[in-house]
């Protein structure tokens, strides 16, 4: 596993061992950690023991020949595909815990009683402590009897991921065809605190204000990418390059700490590619970026590090210049042993 301090290419399996990954995750500010992730579809091994990480402020490219498993990796990260083995973690993501309502009540009740009962007032904070202890005990019992109490930031569902600060663009464009460009970008801001049902229904000031803030921010994101003039248009009416930028603007609306870009350069011409690369470089100050891309001319100068997949396995990681010289990579791409 290549690290930020020593970004050398490596196809040595030991270098990408889970232990190495975890150690590195604790040493650097990792935004995404994959630990020995395997995915099996029936008899087909789509991914085998894939381990790598993406650090905050880093741009990492995920490359590989067709069918190497790149999109499956993205789908695992986004929660669309559950790994048959291994873990995906988002150490830098906002904390997210999901429990069923019943479990939430069971955990909340002792603490609530501890805080609010008159006995608690007389006995000071002891009741609260007792409540916490009971809640911890309940949590342990639930784990022992195999009631699912998910751990923090592991295997989150897509909607939970967005709330945890992980955002993704899709292959192609993936804009909502019935919504305007502005509405498409606004739709990306659903993880923000906004007006609830009644504030929206009755146009209460709080809801109106929240909607206005969302609209302004969507416009400023479009402006940042230079496509604000297309705000009132429908996605079917705008050029492909603009649609790509709109998709990125939408992904940025949830203020992600990790941005996943799925083939961002496809369909763009040379001038658009340069401009697009400049925008991605600008993003690194706020977040980590992981991108899947086939266009090597676009990827090589852009990324800090490459992870190369072939037949569902990581065959090399490291700086682009080093990966380019890696025999395993050359063989995977050209089909010959150099």
């Amino acid at each position: 596993m290549a690290t930020e301090g020593a970004p050398t290419a490596s196809s040595d399996p030991a270098a990408s061992s889970p232990q190495a990954v975890v150690e590195h995750a604790s040493a650097a500010a990792a935004s995404l950690v994959l630990e020995r992730v395997s995915v099996q579809f029936g008899g087909l091994h789509a991914l085998s023991d894939v381990s790598f990480q993406v650090n905050s402020g880093e741009i990492v490219g995920l490359i590989g020949p067709n069918g190497a498993g790149k999109t499956t990796v993205f789908n695992v990260i986004c929660g669309f595909v559950k790994p048959t083995a291994g873990h995906v973690q988002f150490p830098m993501a906002k904390s997210w815990k999901k429990e069923t309502l019943a479990i939430r009540i069971v955990l909340w009740l002792p603490r609530a009683i501890g805080r609010r009962s008159s006995l608690a007032r007389r006995l000071g904070h002891r009741f609260t402590q007792a409540g916490r202890a009971i809640a911890t005990f309940v949590r342990r019992v639930l784990r022992i009897v195999r009631v699912r109490v998910p751990e923090k930031n592991r295997h989150l569902r897509p909607s939970q991921l967005a709330r945890a600060g992980v955002s993704r663009t899709l292959q192609g464009v993936g804009l909502f065809p019935h919504l305007t460009v502005l509405e498409n970008v606004m739709a990306g801001g659903q993880t923000r605190p906004h007006g609830g049902f009644f504030t929206s229904l009755f146009a209460l000031p709080q809801g109106v204000r929240a909607d206005r803030v969302l609209r302004d921010e969507a416009l400023s994101q479009l402006d940042r990418l230079g496509v604000a003039s297309f705000a009132p248009r429908m996605p079917g009416e705008i050029p492909y390059g603009v649609a790509k930028k709109v998709a990125v603007a939408r992904a940025l609306m949830c203020r992600p700490s990790l941005l996943l870009l799925d083939e961002p350069a496809s369909g763009l011409d040379e001038s658009e590619l340069e401009e697009f690369a400049a925008h991605i470089v600008e993003l690194r100050s706020d977040m980590a970026v992981l991108l899947v891309e086939h266009n090597m001319g676009f990827v090589m100068p852009l990324v800090d590090r490459l992870v190369v997949l072939d037949f569902g396995e990581v065959i090399a990681t490291g700086r682009p210049s080093d990966v380019q010289q890696d025999p395993a990579v050359i063989e995977a791409y050209l089909g010959v042993q150099q």
Binding site: P158, L161, R168, M234
Partner: protein, 299 residues
């Protein structure tokens, strides 16, 4: 002026408008469910009838009319949510025929339950305002205070719903979740919650329509109360465009006015004939409906 307002055509227009806004409201509720879940809810009318029965059955306990309306609407909202969670959720992703069969079965079931519990005979529903048509300088104008209240109530509810969908962030989430659920999930939209909310809202709108129909048309509240309005509303929604709330409203009002003119000048037997004829013509010329925009797709 008075003679003009009392003329036959203006009277037909006013009576038609009265019926039309109710048809538009039912059509709107149908469109809301279609947009949210792509299911044609054939039980929409029966669900609305059931909610109205729940509210109006409180009249037996000397509860006031307005409280009964509030309970009917709340029952409608709750009924929509429970139906989506318990029944409809199992139909997502299934072959298209499954929701149709299940919803037709649900319609029959609800009407059978209503007949068994409340009986087949009509239940009188009080009118909150006078039903006597207004007089203007000795001329009768074909609208009463009660009729005006019902038109205004139906329009306010319809406009509120359309505004909610079109101009609020909640409406944006509802539309996004309906069009592309997987992409919406990636953006943090709670799609499952939005689908339930779509059913809750549309069922509440249906309950308002049923309360209006029960207190104004025919023999009061009966288990088959909403069958005829639903049939016309279904045709109106298809003509207006199942993707267009405004289209459903406008087509509903147009069909209500058309119905009144047909009854007055021809015969009530021709109402469905003309409505179905209009549906066939529109489907041949513009299959997506008159008010639905076709969306271009890049290939």
């Amino acid at each position: 002026m008075d003679a003009f307002l009392a003329s036959r055509n203006v009277s037909d227009l006013l009576v038609g408008l009265h019926f039309g806004v109710v048809i538009g409201l039912v059509a709107l509720s149908l469109v809301m469910i279609w947009r949210a879940t792509h299911i044609l809810n054939f039980a929409q009318g029966a669900m609305a009838m059931f909610s109205a029965y729940v509210g109006m059955s409180l009249l037996s306990y000397n509860v006031g009319y307005w409280w009964c309306v509030v309970v009917a609407v709340i029952a409608g909202l709750a009924f929509g949510g429970v139906t989506e969670r318990v029944l409809v959720r199992r139909l997502y992703g299934k072959p298209e025929i499954n929701p149709i069969v299940v919803m037709v079965g649900f319609l029959a079931l609800l009407e059978a339950i209503a007949s068994a519990v409340w009986g087949m005979s009509g239940r009188a529903v009080p009118l909150p305002f006078s039903f006597v048509d207004w007089q203007l300088n000795g001329q009768t104008i074909a609208i009463s205070p009660n009729g005006l209240y019902q038109i205004v109530a139906a329009l306010v509810v319809a406009i509120l719903v359309v505004v909610l969908f079109r101009y609020t962030n909640l409406g944006l989430q509802l539309r996004a979740a309906a069009v592309a659920p997987e992409v919406s999930r990636l953006l943090g939209v709670r799609v499952s919650r939005m689908l339930t909310l779509g059913w809750i809202l549309s069922s509440g709108v249906g309950a308002v329509a049923a309360v209006i129909v029960a207190s104004n048309f025919g023999p009061g509240l009966t288990p088959t109360l909403m069958d005829a309005p639903f049939a016309i509303a279904f045709i109106a929604a298809a003509v207006g465009g199942l993707e267009s709330p405004w289209g459903a409203l406008v087509a509903g009002v147009a069909f209500g006015i058309m119905q009144q003119f047909v009854i007055d000048y021809l015969n009530s037997d021709y109402v469905f004939l003309i409505a179905l004829g209009a549906l066939v013509v529109v489907l041949m010329i513009r299959p997506q409906g008159l008010f639905t925009k076709s969306v271009s797709r890049r290939v």
